[in-house]
Amino acid sequence: MKSMKLILMSLTLGSVFLFSGCGNGDGKGTGAIGSSGAAEKVYVAPGELDEYYQFFSGGFSGQVTVHGLPSGRLLKTIPVFATDGEKGYGFNEETKPMLMTTFGFVPWDDAHHPKLSQTNGEHDGNFLFINGNNTPRVARIDLTTFETTEIIQIPNTAGLHGSPYPTQNSEYLVAGTRFSVPIPQEDVSIDTYKENFKGTFTFISGGQEPGKMDIAFQILVPGYDYDLATSGKGPSHGWTFFTSYNVEQENTLKEKYASQYDKDYIAAVNWKKAEEYIAQGKFKEWPAEYYHNFYNDKTHTATATKKSGVKVLIPAECPGLVYYLPTPKSPHGVDVNPTGELIVGSGKLSADLTVHSFAKMLAAIEAESFDQEIDGIPVLNFEAIVAGTVASGGLGPLHTEFDGRGNAYTSFFISSEIVKWSTETFEVLDRIPSYYSIGHLSIPGGGSMKPWENGKYMISMNKITKDRYLPTGPELAHSAQLYDISGDKMELLLDFPTMGEPHYAQGILASKIIDRQVKFFPLEENEHTYKTLNEKDTRVERDGNEVHIYATMIRSHFAPDNIEGVKVGDKVYFHVTNLEQDWDVPHGLAIMGAQNAELLIMPGQTETLLWEPLTPGIFPFYCSDFCSALHQEMQGYVRVSPADSDVKLSWKLGDEGSGN
């Protein structure tokens, strides 16, 4: 009956189509099928793959989410700066060190700008970097495993917003202080802001070398609020730009007092010059402590290493290192176009965009067109460096990206819209609303030298969604909107809710990443200290009040699955190795009453759960990731006896028991 209906339906549709298709050629036959409608452009049929990976920051969730474009489908949540019970991240012994800082174990952060690694100014698909705003940190996500593998803490910094914005070959990731503070930290009156508070720009090396991220050097700058950053490319390669606000240096009611002056500055940093000064030894060694945490995919274990000391450059002692470009109205975003010549400053309290010319900037430096000098930093003459102004007609410009066809797209928070303009004539070409209150926008590759496919899609990230979705109580999801920008007019295609605050996102052509996916970890390469590669080596060992269970898992049993001789007061470590060697067969481990989370162990991987039983009794454990037809049978028991009991340690699986 069903199939009959289906055939009938296709027949009807078919004939409608045929009629309109072979009609009189009046060109009006744009029925539901075959039209260039938005639905068709975002439809990815069941079983088909998206064209792009789009990496969204989770904002105050501290994580990254991966969506496919054009469908908007959520593919994965990658835990970065916050613990994640689903994956045991920050709960198992292997990943706890990832969240170590000089402030102790910090299980949350505010993740802001996911940035893809670059080679020759193009996204190479190797890594994704992202900054933690609150407790300053920068993380690396490996795009072969989609796991966070490295986190470096940024010392002498507070409020790490302008980061990581890699340079053209990811020579450096950068970081600016959004909140100036005493550097080094000091107990002073907040009212001594102007005298004691300073900012820093940090350059982090090792972008392309896993495990090698390090603080290359810092630059000490006046105590403004350094907001966003971008690194130059092509001709401007070798420079990094940071926006600032609060050049008023106010420390209270900033909303009002930090917006008094007509212009703030974009700081232009010549980091090649910085390298020369470092080589010449013109730096100061300052005390600073920070953590460098690295997760090794062979040992399946992270280590947290405390480091100390940084090299600091002081602009007054290093001529030519930093210049200030005056830019109207508290600039927020700073973005360089694909040719590397235009530096777009978005004065967030203004209607207009200020576009500086990199060539003019160099000429002004050469000609010493300076208006003044602040702490050894020359302020360039505004007229000498401006390439043009975009009279946008919008309000509250924030961020700009590019399509590689000579067009720029700027988000406007207050007027809630996107404005498309020409980077040649600075004329506005088109505008389209966002729903509502857009922050960043993203064109896959649109911040690099080579936007993918010359700019096909654009994503807006919106802070407010009031009437856009079914209501869910007081808290509503933020959203992303997908636009087709391949034509003259921008077209809204899709609107989908996102996790946390999708603060920023970057996209990359799926084909750049698909082929390098790790499907499982070969057992032969497992170097975990507590691995067990063979069921015959599974065992339980006691060392004082520590009990180490060397266990394995495979469809669908644990070895061992009956354990006795554990006592109240013991610290029980389950070291479990997943013996599967096939794609998509993780197993979980969950124990009644465990105060952390589950383990979710990938094929070939070893993970450890610490469990401290509080009462005697029988405690079941089981596999929490549905793995086979006999998944429900994948379970075991631990017997916990009173602290003073003399129950012997023993374990077994099936008839193969053992003990000591």
Partner: protein, 160 residues
């Protein structure tokens, strides 16, 4: 996404032609839509009796056993111990059958296909399907290369 539109069109047109096309009516369209004739699959028992002709489904179509190669067998034993003993034990039944004497009930090709392609073997091969019904749990694909599977086969030859 354009291509999907035209694909859909092609399907619709094909359906349309299949269903309403041609003047010869019933007979022809029946021929087009009737499922192709399928040979009746062997039962587990029939397939086991016919084991010498059962090569299984997968990449391996022909194996020349030749003289026993001790070094290869030793390598096979290592692989087997690392990747198979969670479910198999050489001499005794565990979660799956013991490989002892397996060459007297399965062809070398069938064994290698079982190791390399267990999912399809469990679904479509008459012996594979029968074993699944008996043992209840699906044999895992442990990601062996063809060379590794050959080494394990050599090791199996030593288990008599």
């Amino acid at each position: 996404m354009k291509s999907k539109g035209s694909l859909l069109l092609a399907v619709v047109v094909a359906l349309c032609m299949g269903a309403c096309g041609g003047g010869s009516g019933d007979k022809e369209s029946k021929g087009k839509f009737a499922p192709p004739p399928v040979a009746k699959p062997l039962t587990f028992e029939e397939a086991k009796a016919d084991w010498k002709n059962q090569k299984g489904l997968g990449p391996v179509t022909n194996v020349d056993l030749g003289e026993l190669d001790d070094a290869l067998a030793a390598r096979g034993k290592e692989i087997y111990e690392l990747k198979c003993t969670a479910c198999h034990s050489p001499e005794n039944e565990k979660l799956g059958p013991a490989p002892k004497g397996i060459l007297e009930r399965r062809t070398p090709e069938w064994i290698m296909n079982m190791i390399l392609n267990p999912e399809e073997m469990a679904m479509k091969d008459p012996i594979g399907r029968g074993l699944l019904t008996k043992y209840n749990t699906v044999m895992a694909n442990q990601g062996l290369s063809q060379d590794d599977a050959r080494a394990v086969l050599e090791y199996f030859r030593t288990l008599k």
